[in-house]
Amino acid sequence: MRTITYAQAINEALAEEMRRDRSVILYGEDVANFGGIFRLTAGLKQEFGDERVFDTPISENALVGAGVGAALTGLRPVVELQFADFLFTAADEVVLKAGMWRYGHGGAYNVPLVIRCPSGAAGVGPEHGQCPEAFFMHAPGLKIVSPSTPADAKGLLKSAIRDNNPVLFFEHKLLYATKGEVPEGGDYLVPLGKAAIRREGDALTLVAISNMVPKALKAAERLAADGHNVEVIDPRSLVPFDRTAIIESVKKTGKIVVAEESYKTLGVGAEIGAMLLEEALEYLDAPLRRVAMPDVPIPTGANLEKFVIPNEEKIYTSCKELLR
């Protein structure tokens, strides 16, 4: 199968869905003429024209809120925020409007909106490098997707665009350049809410999110060399969340480690821990380990960032502690 980058996969998904459905539009800062500051949307304005692909002013509240309004009135907008951190700039529109409009109005309207959010620490400091998935996982009415491979980036984005609900689509900046096999053409869809077992094993369940997945797989290989066969699970979507995949795995392994780039306190690992304590206590034979961003903003300096961002080594050591 041909291999393409995560970035190309996103560009393909956008192009295919815009070809398929005229109600899909794309806008954001610098997405049209420039093709996006990460160049993900290059060529789309040329193919789909100024009305369906356009640049906007620097007005994040209007961007997101207009996405909701357009979704209420028959479009399927894809809004690009230049950095996932700007979800906070537009949090009223994200949490209170996109997440609650349908429910608050008794289901009279759907909100088929996708917000694309480049996430992840990459040397750009506290306000341009967060992985804020967990904040919005706590908010009712929002679906949350965080793909780790080019194939999932494509298949999940296509599904997100077709979904009748608001979806926050997190793209880790450090994954953009990574390559992987992606089925050509056709209609490659990956359903929201289905986890992927990236590696089978019975020694320990290692849940990894977004850019932590490749790191977890490397750690898993080292652990295998040590004789520990760990299972690596990539939830892929956090809302809906594939609880069964994780619970079933833990029933088999009895041990759980969660690797994520969100802040530790109330990060995704907290929900997984609580869920297991509710539903799988009797199977757990070791304490939870959360490999996460410590509860500090992301420092700008490379050596400081490296110190706080979870990596292969930290994942390896945490697993090792439980496997002794």
Partner: protein
Amino acid sequence: MDQKLQLEIYRKILLSRRVEERVAELVKAGQVGGFMHPGVGQEALQVAAIATLRPDDYMLYAHRGVAYWIARGVPLEKVLCDLACKEGGTNHGKGGVMRVVYPKLGVLGESGTLGGCFPIATGAGLSIKVKGEDKVVLCFFGDGTSNRGTFHESVNFCAVRKLPVIFLCENNGWAVSMPTERSTAVKDIAARAAGYNIPGVIVDGNDPEAVYDAVTTAVKRARAGEGPSLVEGKTYRLWGHWIGDPESYRSREEVEMRWRKDPLPRYEEKLTEAKVLTPSLKSQIEEESKAAIDKAVEFMRAQPLPKPESALEGVFAEA
């Protein structure tokens, strides 16, 4: 303005007024739990502006009273059921009367945070433009709300993309206890149009025909693809911010003085002088209104509350 339309507007102003009087009774008597911000004194502005719309246009109302829905043609009994958070309304108790929604007539609903309306209206305008339709969006907001950042972002966005949105400010002089002159650096909200290179028009909000003309011009401009307009109607909130507001923040004199400019009797006189309204027609309209309200209240009373378990439904649509 032709007589049919004049009477239509008068009818709706009067009905709105009588509905709010009845709602106040019901709320004070504890017969409905609903919470409402009365619009008494602003009905002329609300009714006349909405009278300029086509059935397929969109609107975002503000939180101020019932006239928006009556003017738009949302069945009265549905509004009352929403007020009481019962079945038979438009949102099944999920949003109450502050979230009346009616897709058939483009009533998109309401944002609970002030200023949330602006980006939503912008998005509706975007849909219209992308689809190449000639619909418009009418977005109501208060003087206080004009100080939200979303106003600035949205008006600029609509102006650069030439979206068919009419931003209609109901300047009623107050935002809860805050008088406009202390909350807002500029005397006329309409002056803010200069920051976006769009028309900014001031109109006497208690004169329904003046409002009708001003909004009609803005609607024409929007339909022609020439972009948004800002219209400011000067009016006054004759009742409290909510039913039961002590109103300790303003003087009796100020309010009494404003009652003398109450748009209802004022329009009544005008139509009577113009021989459009006769005493008999007037009392007929009063009776029809009362009958309609009695009927709607009865309907509301007879409706069940939503099933408690339904509180768990409706967060997500079928994928």
